[in-house]
């Protein structure tokens, strides 16, 4: 019997929601804890076991110089580096700053702006280091997280769907909100993983899982415009939790250019 793989969980600019998903695994958490040694997970335990680690889960985006240096150190420490959640995989909601003036934001938010030292952009981890696997979502899906961990522990390559939200949406036999009510919905260009929860509750997809493998966002937004959607609304829809993911970013920029 070989030693249990060492798991580490690191946080960058984020809301902690994705780390919480691991703690949310209630029924399965004990089994996970048995299968791996939780070596570094500040949200769960104060004990810190030094690296190197077999599996590193990284939550959050890079928003400071310090982040940018730290992620390079973490990469050296982790055999497999897995990014978890929209912040880590695409820059997160805080990447809205990438279209704005950071000093102005800082002036409005902080009483003492001079104490803030931040980069002009919020960027995904993969812009800084090589990432072995990306787990999408805002927040990530518990079953997907377990499946990835079990795959790695079992020595298999993790495999998650890269296709659109429409597949699970139709599998659930949900009626399409875009076709029946003309509501702009990002489902066709967004990666599955949430089991199409929003359309099942009569809401459009907000793109929490980022672009699907073959996302054709301009074609979809073109259709919504043709059907009378408001251009500003489409910019806000595509520029959301995963707004800085390349396919969504280019689409929202394109929408603005034709303003």
């Amino acid at each position: 019997m070989t030693a249990k793989p060492k798991l580490a969980v690191f946080k960058f600019a984020s809301c902690d929601g994705c780390q919480l998903t691991l703690l949310d695994c209630e029924d399965e958490l004990l089994a996970v804890a048995e299968a791996v040694e939780i070596a570094y997970f500040l949200e769960a335990r104060t004990q810190e076991i030094e690296g190197p680690y077999d599996i590193g889960l990284v939550e959050g985006s890079v928003t400071t110089d310090h982040d940018a240096r730290r992620i390079r150190e973490i990469r050296k420490q982790c055999h497999y580096l897995i990014t978890i959640g929209a912040c880590a995989t695409s820059g997160g909601i805080q990447a809205l700053r990438n279209w704005a003036d950071l000093p102005e934001f800082v002036r409005h938010v902080y009483a003492d702006p001079q104490v803030i030292s931040a980069l002009d952009t919020s960027t995904p981890i993969a812009d800084h280091v090589i990432v072995d696997f990306e787990l999408r979502g805002c927040p990530i899906n518990k079953q997907q997280l377990l499946s990835v961990l079990l795959s790695l522990i079992g020595g298999h390559k993790p495999r998650l769907p890269s296709y659109s939200v429409c597949i699970p949406c139709k599998q659930r036999q949900t009626v399409c909100v875009a076709v029946t009510r003309g509501i702009p919905c990002l489902g066709p260009v967004t990666q599955a993983g949430c089991n199409a929860i929003c359309p099942a509750y009569n809401r459009e997809c907000f793109g929490c899982y980022g672009p699907q493998q073959q996302a054709n966002v301009p074609s979809l937004t073109h259709q919504f415009l043709r059907a009378g959607a408001d251009r500003g609304h489409l910019v806000r829809l595509t520029r959301n939790f995963n707004g800085y993911a390349p396919e969504f970013r280019e689409a929202s920029n394109l929408l603005e250019q034709h303003d």
Partner: protein
Amino acid sequence: MAPRHLPVGSFVRIDKHDLQSILDSLSQRGYRTIGPRLRDDAMVYDELTRVSDLPIGYIDEQDGGRYRVVSDPQQRWFGYVVGPHSLKNFVFPPHETLLRSHRDADGLWSTQTELPETRPVAVLGVRSCDLRALRVQDRVFLEGPYVDVHYQSRREPLFLVAVNCARAAATCFCHSMKTGPAVRGGHDLALTEFVDHFVIEVGSDTGGEVVTETNWTPCTIEEVQAANDVPQRLSSAMQLRDKTLPASSAGDVEVDHPNGRYLDIRGIRELLLDNLEHARWQAVGKRCLSCANCTMVCPTCFCSSVEEVASLTQDNVERKRSWASCFTAEHSYMNSGTVRKTTASRYRQWLTHKLATWHDQFGQSGCVGCGRCITWCPVGIDLTVEVAALRGDKS
């Protein structure tokens, strides 16, 4: 002496509200009764035990990427046509377990085939195109060298109450595919709707038994004729409609077709297979989202994937089959890479399979002209337009 039950081929008349007794009779026979219901702004198939739950007085307007429910001035019970669901949802469900494996205390694996629960399903309101689509899936799942026993166990007890269409949506082109609008076989009962009564054609022995239990009266020759005329009139109207369609829009993607569609199927297999490198594939690939909606709503699309669902201890493993689509990268994935890497190549695969190579594989077309792929495509890609463009059909 009256026969014990109405024979196949007989036509009877029932008052409209006596349709309830047919549902009741089916329930008593142990069927789970399904029918069209208005839910979330569409006509879907769902549990139906009371005819008053039918979407009476509503019809659907359909076009590329657009579906709306509106009220029907004629207050028909079956004035709408097909919604996003089809019989596929019942015989080939979106998810099902095929096999279970268990590892015992000694570490030995054993497996058993998981067959679906056997409560038979009766579906009310089935249209001709969907009966034909069921025949297409029968060919795939039942009539090849291997039988899909999961499909078979749902398919065999299926009881189908069909409806002759009196109205077509703009996306309907069953008249082109010769799959409708008249119901021709595959049904247990076929209804034709009139203002205050239905004419019922008995299509099977079980159908005859069920109708015998209702308050039926024999049809006059005139009533039978009137029932035959309903889909016939629609068929003529659809043919006539073709002549009024704007020919110039045949290759144009941004034109709505509120007045209907047709598909010229002459030599279609050769048309597609001789044009595998036509520039049109790249053009449609630029619009196509690779979202797979067309394949999910298509009543004949049969692709599936099987995944392993394991307990945490890995001692109990299910093989779960789910609907899959040729529009995904996963579909043609091999360890050496994905075969069909581009959206254009996936659309080409789908359309050439549906309309051309399906003939090689199953001796018939994979398309029944139901129009679902047009309606439920978020960007309204229209296979009738794509085929016309491949034909160079501008005249």
